[in-house]
Subunit: 557 residues, 2 copies
């Protein structure tokens, strides 16, 4: 059939369309058997207490390996858009395009992964256009909470896609340009087939607000503070950093950066000409020489991260910075869902030292989101007027609500694929035409392993139920060569029943179980292990109401 | 010295004054060496993903065991006020006083703990007064999100304490009485020495709002819904349950209760004469026979609890209730901090089925808090006019902010003890005069163990780093009787380095390490274990960048 060989334009999210984070998007053009692809963003997300030992999570990119990819194109330098580049680039080995600020931070990641010399990393200016096989890709200036963010206008013979990236409409973003409305409207006039768009704040009415307003609020607040001042914000929000520095200057304070990523990002910012007209930062040792009212510490750790600057200050174990009665800490940040408990603990520790806290909740306006709220989404639909709305960068709830909003905005079609759903955008009506392997990969013990892997499952089981280690030495006839030894890991004892007694009782039960085995079975390691495991799980249920992992080792001596 | 023998009035929080939850408060009267005590509330708090295997947490009550206690007096039936009664009553063995609704639920707990027949549980009516040794205790009617809540007016020869319990000012609480303002004002006129007061919402301006307003909002919302309707709320909020039933009636729907605690609490409510004038509930099997527009499911599980009704409906594995496209779910509840992620997962699963969600966030007014906001706190200070403000029921941040608010309200003294701080309220100026053992106890494997106990520490370590089990059979001279066996739990492998290969390599390293030991050391189990552990931790660091628990068992054969 000829029709099977017709060119198609497809969108395939492998990350970012079941969650906020971990973005990995593919666009394909051509007939099914000879498609050319571009990859947009290669992000990570982070582990939480339910994934002990796993800090980094990224999309399963196995499907990508067989594809004919022209390039990886990045939209900005947040971790959920670039964090997997060191892990996943080796599976694609294609040129990488990014704006200079993003490229600076990507270079660091490639250096950490020891592949910097292998990667063809090319800087693209905002507003510039690349030809990537059948795709003509223009870097569209938008505004977001990081320098040099860009959307992508992707022109193909079957129509133009506007991939928004993460964006908001900030009329005064403090650093960088405003949204290139003219270009987006022109695209709209020429006809946008599909808009693939940020859904983060689809449940929030109104607009996100401007960095310029935060700048004013921060200056107002900081001018009223006595004692030492710490401000916590996301280091990558260079506009915010600039505003804090400005506020400090207005209040007659010098700024000391505390935390590794503050230094890393300000270096990146300076490399592209930002933060140039500000007075130099003072270092931590110098800062100690300043009177309390003359210093401001700009800190990492707004999310309660245990090893970040602010947590160490709160614990009182930072080598150079100490806070106490009469000092102030300003959280110019939001609570990322999942971090509520560490942030609460951090704030209680600071309060306990007598540090006065200022948060977005009690001081509205000292933080704004970098993502579009409903009025901004509506505005973007009015500018771009796509035929198809494809929400991304959201959980299922966000994507579905975003579809409803797009329909209210008279977009003819809205479709919300899940990670792994291949959407044919053209020709014909948009629809999901295929489902490819997708999922999450965990960095576990420096190895990239599938989400449902054995290792984490065992660790979780051990975390809840504990472990019994049973060692049995048998001679070749199956006779015990010495007493069975039972050790417990993560199992409690109390005054009524000390752990040692419990383990002795279990060892006795294991020996009884061996006695009950036939002579043949006692010569079979698997039979011995199964019998012992069954017996000790049952006994543990009686003692602890739980079934630990029973690791039985039979040594034949 | 005579003065050492003088009577004193003291307050001692053992729970609730570092956290919201786990309340355990003591009041003592008499000279230090012959004090009489009453205990107010014996609550629990709940484990989270950072305490794997631990679901129940309660105050360390070891200090209580030596005391001369007159009685336990309860303020209401929430778990954070009564949940530890089965565990801690045996350490006190004194009469327990509670309002009838509270007593009903306490009786269930005592039955579960198998001590119902031992406990002298006495019902006290709201407004009644008890003589408990030197304490004259009056049950003060207040309003809260559960039936029959009470504050306590505690009169002693050295002054009167108003212990508020959990409260709000609800002018129309739907069920039960309004706050007994007259009594509180009379106490104020007579002189309140100290007010020990709820701090939960001290950061929230205005007032919490009335259950009657929620009733109207729920009826409005539910009348607009098509398809099946589920409403999730806290079962213990019987006024809310009543309002949902009322809203269902208005919308021509019958109500089906789903979830064990819905049945448990409605039975308790009926036992004290509540929920009597409503049409009977239909059971889950009957409900299936009703048209979609004629049924409303009132569910447990608003916090995303995995085993609760709503999660099972969202998963599609509830035996009798199925929801899908066109159905609605109303969350008449708040997000308890720490539950953000399970609630998010629950809501995404429901959205994914096509269920429309209604939450407090997008539909303000369908839930109100049961705790006093700032305007209510101010009102209470105006009524009671205490000499001393003692904030409780809060984290450190809340307690300190509450002290500041009390000072703004012209309270002469405000003091925020931590759990374990003994506050002398009289005679003289209030101050912390002692610090007694306190902390948290965990129910771990059915045993009550200290928070910092070995078992949980090991489980957490295993959860993050995994376990290596090394079994070594040595003869009496220290010669290997068979090859060393190394097993891994929770350790990953990948295609480049399969786990089996890693474990073989580790076994070889362990044997090399043994070879390097002197003949004497090989006869010493501890020396062997230490050498092997050190060697394998180092090797693991190279393979996995982590240091697992190394459990080495030496069998002498």
């Amino acid at each position: 059939m000829k029709s099977q060989k017709a060119n198609e334009l497809v969108f395939l999210p492998l990350g970012g369309s079941n969650e906020i984070g971990m973005n990995l998007n593919l666009y394909g053009y051509g007939p099914p058997d000879a498609r050319k692809w571009i990859v947009v963003d290669v992000g990570v997300t982070f582990g939480d207490p339910t994934t002990p030992g796993v800090e980094l999570i990224m999309p399963d990119a196995s499907y990508v390996e067989g594809l004919d990819i022209e390039a990886i194109v990045l939209t900005h330098a947040h971790e959920d858009h670039i964090g997997a580049i060191g892990w996943l680039w080796p599976r694609m080995k294609v040129p990488v395009y990014a704006t200079p600020f993003t490229a600076y931070l990507v270079r660091e990641k490639l250096r950490d992964a020891d592949i910097l010399d292998q990667v063809d990393l090319r800087e693209a200016q905002l507003g510039s256009t690349l030809k990537l096989g059948p795709f003509e890709v223009t870097f569209v200036t938008i505004t977001h909470s990081i320098p040099e963010p860009n959307g992508l206008a992707i022109k193909t013979p079957l129509g133009t896609i506007l991939h928004t990236g993460d964006w908001k409409i900030d009329e005064d973003p403090v650093i960088g340009e405003r949204v290139d409305v003219e270009l987006i409207q022109r695209l709209g006039d020429e006809g946008v087939l599909a808009m693939v768009c940020d859904s983060t704040n689809v449940f929030v009415d109104g607009v996100a607000g401007s960095e310029a307003d935060v700048r004013v609020k921060l200056a107002e607040l900081i001018s009223t503070l006595k004692g030492k001042v710490a401000v916590a914000c996301f280091a990558s929000n260079v506009a915010r950093v600039d505003s804090v520095v400005h506020a400090a200057e207005m209040a007659g304070r010098r700024v000391c950066l505390v935390g590794r990523s503050m230094h890393r990002i300000t270096d990146a910012a300076k490399s592209v000409g930002l933060l140039r007209d500000i007075e130099g930062f003072v270092n931590e040792t110098e800062a100690k020489g300043y009177p309390k009212e003359k210093i401001l510490y700009l800190c990492t750790g707004s999310q309660g991260e245990a090893r970040a600057a602010l947590s160490r200050i709160a614990e009182g174990n930072h080598p150079h910075v100490s806070f106490g009665e009469g000092d102030s800490c300003v959280f110019s940040s939001r609570v990322i869902p999942g971090n509520e408990i560490p942030i609460r603990n951090l704030q209680n520790k600071l309060a306990d030292r007598g540090v006065r806290l200022y948060t977005e909740r009690d001081h509205p306006g000292i933080h704004v989101s970098g993502h579009p709220c409903r009025d901004e989404l509506k505005q973007m639909y009015q500018w771009a007027r796509p035929q198809i709305a494809v929400p991304t960068h959201g959980e299922r709830r966000h994507l579905l609500e975003h579809c409803a909003l797009a329909k209210d905005m008279q977009v003819p079609q809205a479709i919300a694929p899940r990670n792994g759903d291949m959407v044919r955008l053209a020709p014909g009506r948009a629809e999901i035409v295929d489902e490819v392997p997708s999922g999450r990969m965990f960095v576990d013990g420096d190895m990239l392993v599938p989400e449902g892997g054995e290792a984490l499952r065992e660790r979780r089981h051990a975390a809840t139920n504990g472990v019994l280690v049973v060692s049995i030495a048998l001679d070749s006839k199956g006779k015990l060569a010495t007493a069975v030894e039972v050790r417990g890991l993560g199992l409690p004892g109390d005054a009524d029943y000390p752990l040692g007694d419990a383990l002795d009782d279990l060892a006795e039960k294991a020996e009884d179980a061996l006695d009950r085995l036939s002579r043949e079975d006692r010569q079979d390691d698997t039979a011995v292990e199964q019998m012992v495991a069954r017996t000790l799980k049952k006994a543990s249920q009686q003692i602890w109401s739980r079934r630990p992992i029973v690791e039985t080792v039979v040594l034949r001596v």
